[in-house]
Symmetry: C2
Subunit: 230 residues, 2 copies
DNA sequence: TATAGATTCGAACGAACGTTCGGTAAATAC
DNA sequence: GTATTTACCGAACGTTCGTTCGAATCTATA
């Protein structure tokens, strides 16, 4: 789970033979470790200046490595962004599955989703900002792959919500609920200040209260305020 | 309320005399109208490619005007972003004040806030994406001015929420509630599809239900689910 | 210690960037 | 109808961009 168990090995000029690592190979070579470090620096730079605004020279300065030297580890700036996004997403989903394994109560599972999301977000602000901010920067194959992972994550959350809906016999738009929840918890990167705001667990509880309070309340009796009905 | 009642007139090489329009001057000259058009194209381009990713040549192509000709209307790319953000923000706040003037019920006023926000967002997707996406792109003076407007907008929403809290005797973190609400309604630009999703009014009602349901429920008796308390 | 591969580098490539300059055409004022 | 300002343009400026190339230096094995 370092930031680089990835099939980028021997990026160019490899004559023949093994092209991509066959996945699930836990190698943690010198190459992998160095690439992980570089990806970390890159996430930081992309976070600060944005993908387009950041230059490879910025990265070379931050990583303490020459401009040309960087290209030993990946083949282009775009692949750099792809590797960061893919690793970040996959890690979040992997951890989520671990945590969900031991919980069956629908409401509790949604709270686990929120907590998992927020914990990773606040612990890896840079990478996550790159994930959400450079949302549709990647094109073609790499972009399609990242969008697929995103849909997978969306689907997990939607299923959790529909379990709750069935259990409680509620009526609400799953799509709207999921996207509202994503908005709440993704927006954090734009305001969270560790010196002012609570930690991930407390935030997850408060946001869980807010969101679940709304969902449970809205969907039940179609109760609406007089003002809204007017 | 065109996109350019702004003090950019006579951008450079003006020898002496009137520098900035003295504000509140409703002139809608040829210059202003053309600038408004250009700002519209610019919002579109910035929205598509991001501020850093968009080039002045892209804009010149979209606007059907030469590269050099553009600089007759503003002095730099950065000022372009500033003008878009300032006009967008000021318009949203101005309309909000108009709508709030006739409402006194705290819950209804929050619903007005949400509806005003969503209506403008969905009618001006490009400009709004530039507003939220290029959040801290501007530096120095221009950046400080935009951040001040943003704080003003935040404060309006916070006050609305605290009115509700007082009326109903609730307990909740105003900051967290405001920022959660902003997350919900700002995130829309990343997913809203007019062919699939409801219009602004319907969305505002549903999100209002969700948010107010949560706020009213959470803050009252400190009710929490067994799972969350465990 | 010799050999081979992995790692790193300085220097440069062509392309694209934001901006400027001198000048022409169109609109406005007198 | 002429003079003056406004609107616009082609061409270029200097800079920075992502990327490449050939060579130098490490590292590990035999």
């Amino acid at each position: 789970m370092t930031l680089a168990s990835v099939e980028t090995r021997l990026p160019h000029a490899v004559p023949e033979g093994r092209k991509g690592r066959s996945a699930s190979e836990p190698v943690d070579s010198r190459f992998d470790r160095r690439l992980a470090k570089v990806l970390q620096y890159a996430a930081q730079i992309f976070c600060e200046k944005g993908y387009e605004g950041a230059s490879m020279r910025d990265l070379s300065r931050a990583a303490g490595m020459s401009l040309a030297g960087l290209y030993h580890y990946f083949e282009s700036k775009e692949e750099l962004l792809y590797l960061i996004q893919k690793h970040t997403f996959r890690t979040i989903i992997e951890r989520l599955h671990q945590r969900l394994a031991g919980a069956s109560d629908p409401e509790g599972r949604i709270r686990i989703f929120i907590e998992n999301h927020l914990e990773y977000f606040l612990a890896n602000k840079e990478a996550v900002k790159v994930l959400t901010h450079e949302d549709d920067t990647l094109k073609n194959g790499r972009g399609a792959e990242i969008r697929a992972i995103k849909r997978e994550y969306y689907k997990i959350c939607l299923d959790l919500l529909e379990d709750l809906r069935k259990e409680k016999g509620l009526q609400f738009s799953g799509r709207l609920a999921v996207l509202s929840l994503f908005g709440m918890i993704n927006w954090i990167y734009s305001w969270h200040n560790p010196r002012v705001d609570a930690d991930a667990q407390a935030l997850a509880r408060e946001m869980g209260d807010l969101f679940l309070g709304g969902v449970l309340n809205t969907g039940k009796g179609r109760r609406r305020s007089a003002k809204a009905r007017a």
